[in-house]
C-alpha cells in the first residue's frame, strides 16, 4: 500500500531528529530499540485497519510514532511501548476515520493510555543520564542503556531541584526526548520556520503558561516552582512546540482560535501540575484542549457568520 506523502509531516520529522540523537546520547542505544518496536507496531496497526476500511496510510503516522517514543521514560518495557502505540493509532486515529478526522492527537492518546494503565513503569523507570561531569563523550553512543539499569531516579519535576544549566541541556533524568530544552526549542523553531507549525499556538501557550505559573509562584500556592524552572523542567516545551501544533487535532481554522487554543493548553498545564496528583499535566492538558478544539472552531465560525450578516 502506498503511503501518502505529506511535506509538513516530513518537516516535523526533521525537526525531531536532533531530539532523537540527543535521546541516544543521553540514554544509550536502547532508544533505537524502543523506536523500532513502536514503529513496527504502529505501521502494522495502521496498515491492517487502513486495508480493512479502505483508508489511506499517511506519513503523519511516523510523527506520531516518533513523538510517542520520545515521550516515554528510558526504562520502559518494550511491550508496553508497542501496546501503547497500537492503542493510540487504533483508538486515537483510525476509529475516527483515519488522518484528518481524528479528534485527539494519536501520540498523546497512546501516552495517556500507558500512563494510566502502567503507572509504576511509567513513573519509576526514569534513569540518570549517561554523560555527566566525569565523561562528556561518547556518552550514550557507547552504551546500550544506562548501567544503573535497576536504579530509578526521580525527575526534576518531582524533586524540584536541579540547576538551570542541566535542565536546559538535558543532563537530568526524564523521558527520552523531553530533557534537552534547548534542542526542543531549536527543532520547534525549525518546524515553525518551515510552516509545519503555526507560531501563534506555541507563543500563546508559552505566554499563558508563564503568566499562570508566575501568579501561582508569587501567591505561593502549594510550593509552586519559579516559572523559568517550570517551563524547562518537564515536557511542556515539547508539548507546546510539537504536540499542540498538530494540524488536525488543534483549533486551526482562525487565528483567534489558535490564540485561545494555545492559551487554554498553557493554563490547563499549570492547573493540572499544581492541583492534581499527576506531577506532569501536559498529557491531560493536550487531550482536554483537543476536546475543545471543534467547539472553538464552531463557535468562531458562527460568530463570523453572524457578524457578516449584521454588517
Amino acid at each position: 500500500m502506498k503511503i501518502q506523502k505529506q511535506q509538513a509531516m516530513r518537516n516535523v520529522l526533521k525537526g525531531l531528529t536532533p531530539l532523537c540523537l540527543a535521546a541516544i546520547y543521553f540514554y544509550g542505544w536502547r532508544f533505537t530499540a524502543v523506536l523500532a518496536v513502536v514503529a513496527a507496531a504502529g505501521v502494522l496497526s495502521e496498515y491492517v485497519l487502513a486495508k480493512k476500511y479502505g483508508l489511506q496510510m499517511t506519513e503523519s503516522l511516523f510523527v506520531s510514532v516518533l513523538l510517542f517514543s520520545l515521550s516515554l521514560p528510558p526504562g520502559i518495557p518494550l511491550w508496553i511501548a508497542a501496546l501503547g502505540i497500537v492503542f493510540g493509532i487504533v483508538f486515537g486515529k483510525m476509529v475516527f476515520g483515519g488522518f484528518g478526522r481524528n479528534i485527539f492527537n494519536p501520540a498523546i492518546t497512546a501516552r495517556a493510555f500507558v500512563y494510566i494503565s502502567f503507572g509504576v513503569p511509567m513513573t519509576s523507570k526514569f534513569l540518570p543520564t549517561l554523560p555527566g561531569p566525569d565523561s562528556w563523550f561518547p556518552g550514550g553512543f557507547a552504551h546500550w542503556l544506562s548501567p544503573l539499569d535497576s536504579v530509578s531516579s526521580a525527575t526534576p519535576l518531582f524533586t524540584k531541584s536541579a540547576d538551570l544549566f542541566n535542565l536546559a541541556f538535558g543532563f537530568i533524568p526524564g523521558s527520552f526526548g523531553e530533557t534537552a530544552a534547548v534542542l526542543v526549542v531549536i527543532g520547534g523553531l525549525y518546524i515553525i520556520i518551515k510552516k509545519a507549525a503555526n507560531w501563534r499556538l506555541t507563543v500563546s501557550a508559552i505566554a499563558a503558561f508563564l503568566i499562570m505559573q508566575t501568579i501561582f509562584w508569587l501567591a505561593g500556592i502549594r510550593d509552586t516552582v519559579d516559572p523559568l524552572y517550570a517551563l524547562i523542567s518537564g515536557s511542556f516545551l515539547l508539548g507546546a512546540f510539537f504536540m499542540i501544533t498538530d494540524p488536525v487535532s488543534a483549533s486551526q481554522t482562525t487565528n483567534i482560535g489558535r490564540w485561545i487554543y494555545g492559551a487554554f493548553f498553557g493554563v490547563l498545564t499549570v492547573l493540572i501540575r499544581v492541583f492534581s496528583i499527576w506531577p506532569e499535566g501536559i498529557t491531560f492538558a493536550i487531550l482536554l484542549s483537543n476536546m475543545f478544539a471543534p467547539l472553538l472552531d464552531y463557535y468562531l465560525k458562527e460568530r463570523k457568520k453572524r457578524k457578516g450578516a449584521s454588517a
Binding site: 493510555f113 494510566i116 494503565s117 502502567f118 503507572g119 513503569p121
Partner: protein, 218 residues
C-alpha cells in the same frame, strides 16, 4: 399454529421449550441482546463490570427482577388502567428491587457494598421498564416469563464477558483468584470506568460482526 411452528424447527435434538418460546428466548439472549443489540442499561454495565463477582450478582439480580416483574405485570395486564400504567410498573419494580437489595445486604454484604447505589438503580434500569412496556403488558404469563428469562440471561452473558476481560486484564484475576503472574503488570485503565467504555465498544463491534454474518447466512 403450533403445528406450523414445529414444522419449522424440527432439525436436531430436542427442545426443552416449544418452537415459539424458543424463538422468543433466543431473541432476547442473542438477536436482540439488551446490551449489544438494544443498547439498554449501559450505565450499570459500565459501572459494575470491574470484577466478575460484582457483575454476576448484579446481573442475576436484574434477571430475577425482570422475570418476577414480567410475571406480575402480565398477570395484571388487564387490570392496570392504561393511563397510569407507568406508575404501576414503577411501583412493582421498586418493591422487587428493594426486596433484592435487602437480601443482598443480609447475605452478601461485601458485594452489596461494592455495588453501592447500582442495586437500587435497577429500578430505573430501562431494560426492565422496556420489557414490561413492550412485552409483558400485552402477552400471556408464560411467554412473558420466557421473554424475561431470555433478556435477563442475555444481560448476564453480556456483563460476564465484559467483566471477564476487565478483571483479567485490569487485576490479573478471575473471580478474585490470581491467574496472571505478577510481572505482567495489570493494566489499571481497565479497572476504571474509561476502560469500561473501550471494552464495551470493542465487544459491541465483535458481537455485532459475528451476528451480522450469522444473519447474512440465514
Amino acid at each position: 399454529m403450533s403445528d406450523n411452528v414445529q414444522l419449522k424447527t424440527p432439525k436436531k435434538g430436542y427442545r426443552l421449550l416449544s418452537g415459539k418460546s424458543w424463538m422468543v428466548f433466543k431473541e432476547g439472549l442473542w438477536h436482540n441482546n439488551p446490551i449489544f443489540g438494544m443498547m439498554l442499561g449501559l450505565c450499570s454495565t459500565l459501572a459494575v463490570t470491574n470484577l466478575m463477582s460484582n457483575a454476576l450478582v448484579m446481573s442475576l439480580s436484574v434477571t430475577i427482577v425482570l422475570i418476577v416483574n414480567s410475571i406480575i405485570i402480565s398477570s395484571l395486564r388487564n387490570f392496570i388502567p392504561d393511563r397510569i400504567r407507568m406508575i404501576a410498573y414503577m411501583l412493582i419494580i421498586s418493591t422487587l428491587v428493594i426486596a433484592i437489595d435487602m437480601v443482598l445486604k443480609i447475605f452478601l454484604p461485601d458485594i452489596s457494598k461494592a455495588l453501592g447505589a447500582y442495586v437500587a438503580l435497577i429500578i430505573t434500569n430501562c431494560i426492565i421498564m422496556g420489557r414490561a412496556e413492550a412485552y409483558a403488558s400485552n402477552n400471556s404469563i408464560g411467554i412473558s416469563s420466557v421473554d424475561a428469562l431470555g433478556v435477563g440471561l442475555g444481560y448476564t452473558f453480556s456483563l460476564m464477558i465484559i467483566a471477564t476481560f476487565r478483571e483479567l486484564v485490569g487485576f490479573g484475576s478471575l473471580f478474585g483468584y490470581q491467574v496472571l503472574p505478577e510481572p505482567l503488570s495489570p493494566m489499571k485503565i481497565f479497572s476504571i470506568p474509561p476502560g469500561a467504555f473501550f471494552t464495551l465498544g470493542v465487544f459491541i463491534l465483535i458481537i455485532n460482526t459475528i451476528r451480522g454474518h450469522k444473519e447474512d447466512d440465514a
